[in-house]
């Protein structure tokens, strides 16, 4: 699957770190302070590099983080977003067809995820929620693997250390502490990697997230807290979680927070690179609030018509992350018809491949229940496994003896 992802086009590590070493500490912390000073009522400052119309706007602080992005890399970002959306749509369809029990769509959040995901180095480590399909894509996790837990064949079907991408975490907020602890370990090891923890606007209310802020600040851990504020926590708008913009939360813990246009893949890339550089440079944690929108339902079980109108969605469709990059690519002649056509068929192929992979996914062995409860074994599990085996066997025996009885008649 790694082959399909835009690995070839992804920004070089060396380029990334070069951009980062041009010391921007002072300017950035000024920004953070300025932002944090914004009043509740005023619309907070939003880092944006591409307007919804696809115009590239200058930004004195963050331009340098994407200065080296080539047209090829831009096409790569576009491709990542399109394929991620295609995959996501396929998963939604698979749920409708009964192949999955549930699906949590990322529709609308592609830019936040691809932008931040492509900012990462290979040795960085990711702690996702249950919706980070785009980030998983950037890490080279096989999309089909993401579906296992939604199909109900496992609770997380990949090796976190295979792609430095931790398992999806469902208990809201808890992964932010794991990320912080992992980052404390990175710092202990003297490594110059960074860690990124994804979470949602709703999650910002959880005590665990606040504790993660505290621990990361006190230990100056190299972690980026990446909050996708998609405006909704199931049926609750962000006002039910906070009366000020979420990025401002960071300042009270002693590290910068910044709000980025989460529907702008270039801005998401730039701001995340900045934050990751801070982490790698020993400057500790950063909070990035990616302001975006959950265009679909919370999950396939949800019914958004109960709590929000269409207007909001329509307004956000005008800010669609994929459309805006396409407009920019077209206007700047960075991509031609052929590119888009090829991507279309690549998308369809991906959809087909995922569909087939899911349908071919075998149910787990019944004994799997007992397999991984413990690493070193547990006497009771052994006993229960044995009892279960005997119980299962009793049916075989019964039906054996049953058929024996029949043949005996």
């Amino acid at each position: 699957m790694t082959v399909e992802s835009t690995a070839a086009q992804k920004p070089r590590r060396s380029a990334g770190s070069k951009a980062g070493t041009t010391g921007t500490k002072r300017t950035t912390s000024t920004t953070a302070k300025k932002n944090a000073g914004t009043k509740k009522d005023a619309e907070p400052q939003l880092v944006q590099l591409l307007t919804p119309e696809g115009k590239r706007v200058k930004n004195a602080e963050y331009d340098k983080y994407v200065a080296g992005v080539t047209p090829e890399e831009l096409r790569g970002l576009y491709r990542d977003m399109v394929l991620t959306r295609r995959f996501d749509a396929e998963a939604t369809a698979l749920q409708r067809q009964g192949e999955l029990g549930l699906w949590a769509s990322l529709l609308g959040q592609e830019a936040a995820q691809i932008g931040s995901g492509r900012a990462l180095h290979d040795d960085d480590y990711v702690f996702p929620t249950y919706r980070e399909h785009g980030v998983a894509w950037c890490r080279g996790v096989d999309p089909a693997n993401l579906l296992g837990m939604f199909r109900g064949v496992n609770n997380g079907g990949w090796d976190p250390n295979g792609n430095n991408f931790h398992l999806y975490t469902i208990v809201i907020g808890s992964q932010t502490l794991h990320a912080t602890g992992y980052a404390m370990g990175v710092a202990k090891d003297g490594a110059d990697s960074a860690v990124i923890a994804y979470f949602g606007d709703g999650a910002s209310s959880q005590g665990d997230v606040a504790e993660a802020f505290t621990f990361s600040a006190v230990y100056n851990a190299p972690v980026v807290f990446f909050c996708q504020n998609n405006q909704w926590a199931i049926s609750e708008p962000t006002e039910k979680q906070s009366r000020v913009p979420i990025y401002q939360r960071a300042q009270g813990f002693g590290f910068p927070g910044v709000r980025v246009d989460g529907n702008d893949v270039l801005a998401s890339l730039a701001v995340t690179r900045w934050a990751l550089e801070r982490a790698r440079g020993g400057e500790g944690p950063t909070l990035v609030e990616a302001f975006t929108y959950r265009m679909g339902a919370h999950t396939t079980s949800d019914d958004p018509t109960r709590y929000r109108g269409d207007e909001e969605r329509l307004a956000w469709e005008a800010k669609d992350p994929i459309q805006r990059l396409r407009r920019y690519l077209e206007a700047s002649n960075h991509a031609d018809e052929g590119f888009f056509a090829e991507l279309d068929s690549e998308s369809e192929a991906l959809g087909k491949r995922v569909r087939e992979a899911v349908r071919a996914m075998p149910d787990p062995d019944r004994f799997a229940i007992f397999e991984n409860a413990y690493a070193d074994g547990h006497a009771l599990v052994d006993e229960e496994r044995a009892q279960f085996a005997a119980y299962e066997a009793s049916f075989a025996t019964e039906s054996d003896s049953g058929s024996a009885a029949v043949s005996g008649v």
């Binding site: 939604f150 109900g152 959880q206 665990d208 199931i234 079980s301 787990p364 229940i369 119980y391």
Partner: protein
């Protein structure tokens, strides 16, 4: 039996799904007592992910039916504060697996405040938890953590098995001056049974013999009661007469009713979805063995989850007690 239809009072008796019965019961409580408030994630416009609070915010307003921030400790902690102010909060935890962030507030504060204050402070808080498996959900959405609360003094734990009980037990839980953890069998939410909104069926913590039998007692609560009734049906076909006890309350447990049944049948199988190890069945087995030592013709047997994390959905049928597994235990018990 839950399936029994009440025919006498057409006016006060209606057939209703369990989720709807709780909804009606909450509505009645909101109407009857201005101090009752509903709190939780998505309980407002959405009506909760299972629609148990459907329409309540619309009818009672945002100050009675409160969408809270996404923080379970905060929900229970502020509910305690509201109770101290004289309110009777009914709190929803969205799924069983998400009660743990609130565990500290429940165990160290909610459970102990009455004793700590030498009875000066009462905390009439109901914590509603849709619980258990069988709906093919993802991780953390199918747990049965009742034992983790039953061990904690100061809490009361109940779990209805059908709509009629759910309606009344919710009324009683809200009226209780003690904190009540109200475990709702989510896989039974859509099952209908008759409810009579006039006649209180009995005390909240009393078990009920839902089927009489002579050979063996099956004891269960919440989602497993219906299974046990099915087991009794199946066993009846094989000529075995099983008694089924719907425990209804996990703390206190109505040992008297179980004892009465076991003294008659001499055999007991306890069934729950929660893991057997340190589960309700252990307490029931220990105490009933003590009470009925000379009556028991077989050890009390337990059927429940295995000592392993709740498995992915495609394995839950294997993990959960089912007809065959309970019948197997019945056979083993009768074989003594």
């Amino acid at each position: 039996m839950a399936a029994e239809t009440v025919t006498s009072k057409a006016v006060t008796s209606k057939s209703m799904a369990l989720a709807k019965a709780i909804n009606e019961s909450l509505r009645r409580a909101l109407e009857a007592d201005p101090k009752v408030v509903i709190m939780g994630e998505d309980v407002g416009k959405l009506g909760g992910v299972f629609r148990v609070t459907d329409g309540l915010q619309k009818d009672f307003g945002e100050s009675r039916v409160i969408d809270t921030p996404l923080a379970e400790s905060g929900i229970v902690g502020t509910a305690i504060g509201l109770a101290l102010r004289g309110y009777r909060p009914v709190v929803e935890i969205q799924f069983d697996g998400f009660v743990f962030p609130a565990y500290d507030q429940i165990v160290t504060q909610l459970a102990k405040m009455h004793a700590r204050s030498l009875g000066k402070v009462k905390l009439p808080v109901v914590v509603r938890i849709p619980y258990g498996g069988g709906i093919g959900a993802v991780e953390h959405h199918s747990e049965s953590p009742e034992a983790l609360f039953a061990h904690v003094a100061g809490l009361k734990i109940v779990s209805p098995s059908n709509a009629g009980d759910a309606y009344w037990m919710m009324q009683q839980a809200i009226q209780s001056d003690d904190p009540v953890i109200f475990f709702e069998p989510k896989r039974r939410y859509w099952e209908k049974s008759e409810i009579n909104t006039e006649a209180i069926p009995g005390p909240l913590h009393k078990a009920r013999v839902v089927r009489e039998g002579a050979d063996l007692t099956l004891a269960a609560y919440g989602p497993m009661v219906r299974l046990c009734q099915e087991v009794a049906d199946a066993a009846a076909e094989e000529g075995r007469s099983l008694e089924v006890v719907d425990l209804r309350s996990v703390s206190p447990l109505d040992f008297d009713t179980i004892q009465g049944s076991v003294e008659k049948t001499g055999r007991l199988v306890v069934v729950h979805e929660a893991p057997v190890f340190f589960g309700s069945g252990a307490e029931i087995a220990a105490r009933i063995t003590e009470r009925c030592f000379y009556h028991l013709e077989a050890p009390v047997l337990r059927v429940g989850g295995y000592h392993a994390p709740y498995p992915p959905a495609r394995l839950e049928e294997t993990y959960l007690p089912d007809l065959d597994r309970v019948l197997d235990a019945v056979d083993r018990s009768l074989a003594y």
